[in-house]
Symmetry: C2
């Protein structure tokens, strides 16, 4: 499997310049904001999203100024949602650093998220990038709606497979779809091409989220052990949904009883995980994940061969083979 | 003094139709969201912001479809920031209802705020209202930056009068300025007119915030008694800044010592309030407030007379004479 570092090589110059531009776009006149954005830059992730933007632009033509702008807006938006997620998840740690939430509390996290998002929007408005604005505003809407739907379903424990896919499409796939579509749009690709790229990104995003959900059951993760966090938070994901659908009524009742319990110890959570494993829930979810990734690759392969196509192939592959 | 209900009469048909459109624009496919937006509509405030939009449109020409769109986007944004403020302020009560925060917790408040904002943005993008988008995105940026700056200054207790005015311009006046400018822009007014309306709104917004800050000292409020909340939260507003600037060093030290104390009882807070009163801080702030409102009215009076002009005059007057 290619690593992200390897995949980045195709657009290494672009990614470097992007990073520079991104940093300077975060500058603010308020010292507190500067301190926080400095901290955000330090804990930056793998930058998979800008990578999708640059690679889809190269797949379909040239990287332009608009490509940089799209990558910056999407990374700003992604950072804003991570900051807001710190509130949403009550997360105390994120990527090994303390979360903004823990360090500066909820109020600042919310304000910084709003600030980053509006900075990104202004950049694009000033440049007249309205297609990009639509893609990104739609992504924000879908993401927040998807998260809210998940919270609702989590309370009621009545999520179906169909609803699960709709939620992960909204909360995760829409943004990767926007990355791919805006990469294409940034060099003037026609609408049909942009739509294809959107679909490719959406399918990849769904596979990406199933992979994340599998980690909770220890499947394919670096640590190799289940974390069981989703179960403790009553978040029902594909492996569990499948297992419940295929359990007899008394087993189903027993599992739901455990999941509903507020004070689950690790032993109880292990019972659920073991059942999900033995019922084939992990396998089923992995199959689905692979099918989505394959469908994304099929769309990709309709594009003429070039270096970016190979890198995108590896990037889609990475989303389902990564170990963390 | 005219009441808001009276002022609304000039645009009563428009405000009614706006309300209908606004409600339907909040509809969502997620039941939880629908429940929350229903709740938001129920606790709606005086809708001063849409009122500024419609009245400035009528002042300068006709109310158009774009006027409705501007009013809806700004009210969505304002609602989104109120929802986010519930997190920011840790407020447990707002306008007599329980805050969203208390009822559904921080995470939902953040997501609903994001959702409302993106819905508003999409509406305007779909309609190609790019001037409006710029005004509104800029307002979001200024508001979050202003709030963050206030938090920073609150910690350090070193706010100057100049910084105070910059903060309230950012956090409060920018949005009212955007209301007035977008009202003018919605019927195709020229840039010079739009700029004048922006300035008028900004001045009004500054006066509006000074009025709010005066309430904390009991000045001009319905309840007639100081609440002292700002002092307890170490928020230094104009009356206190003036008082500290004009205190001798030992008094200044003593006051700062009280304000810094984490567990201030009402007696200690009263000491500060009494000093602010006796030092002329209330009077000074009220004078400044009146001067800003007067300047706003002067700009207003440069427009030709019509019914909307009189209503706007009354609305500016209302912002400084209201009792809550």
């Amino acid at each position: 499997m290619s690593t992200v570092t390897n995949i980045k090589k195709t657009v290494s110059g672009e990614m470097e310049l992007f990073e520079k531009k991104f940093r300077s776009s975060l500058k603010s006149s308020a010292p507190l904001l500067d301190k926080i954005t400095h901290y955000i830059i330090k804990r930056k992730g793998k930058q998979v999203r800008p990578l999708f933007v640059f690679l889809t632009a190269k797949l379909t033509g040239k990287v332009t100024d608009s490509t940089y702008n799209a990558a910056a807006l999407i990374e700003l938006l992604h950072t804003a949602t991570l900051v807001h997620d710190d509130v949403v998840d009550d997360a105390y740690e994120r990527r090994g650093f303390f979360s903004l939430n823990a360090l500066w509390k909820n109020k600042i996290a919310v304000l910084v998220g709003d600030y980053l998002l509006s900075r990104g929007l202004l950049l694009s408005i000033d440049r007249g990038e309205f297609d990009l604005l639509r893609l990104v505003s739609n992504a924000v809407k879908e993401m927040s709606e998807g998260e809210l739907r998940q919270i609702e379903k989590t309370r009621k424990l009545n999520i179906t497979e169909e609803v699960y896919f709709e939620i992960i499409r909204q909360k995760t796939a829409t943004l990767i779809a926007a990355c791919c579509a805006s990469g294409g749009a940034s060099n003037g690709s026609d609408q049909k091409t942009i739509d294809k790229l959107y679909k490719m990104g959406e399918l990849t995003g769904i596979a990406f989220q199933i992979k994340d959900d599998l980690f909770d059951y220890g499947a394919g993760s670096k640590i190799g052990k289940p974390t069981g966090i989703d179960i403790k938070e009553k978040k029902m994901t594909l492996p569990l949904i499948y297992a419940l659908n295929n359990a007899n009524q008394s087993t189903r009742k027993k599992l739901i009883y455990i999941i509903k319990n507020k004070n689950n110890d690790n032993k109880k959570v292990s019972e659920v995980i073991d059942y999900v494993n033995s019922s084939g829930g992990i396998e089923y979810a992995a199959q689905k994940m692979n099918a989505y990734a394959d469908e994304a690759k099929e769309i990709l392969m309709e594009f003429p061969e070039n270096e970016a196509r190979q890198s995108l192939f590896n990037l889609i592959d990475y989303t389902i083979k990564r170990v963390k």
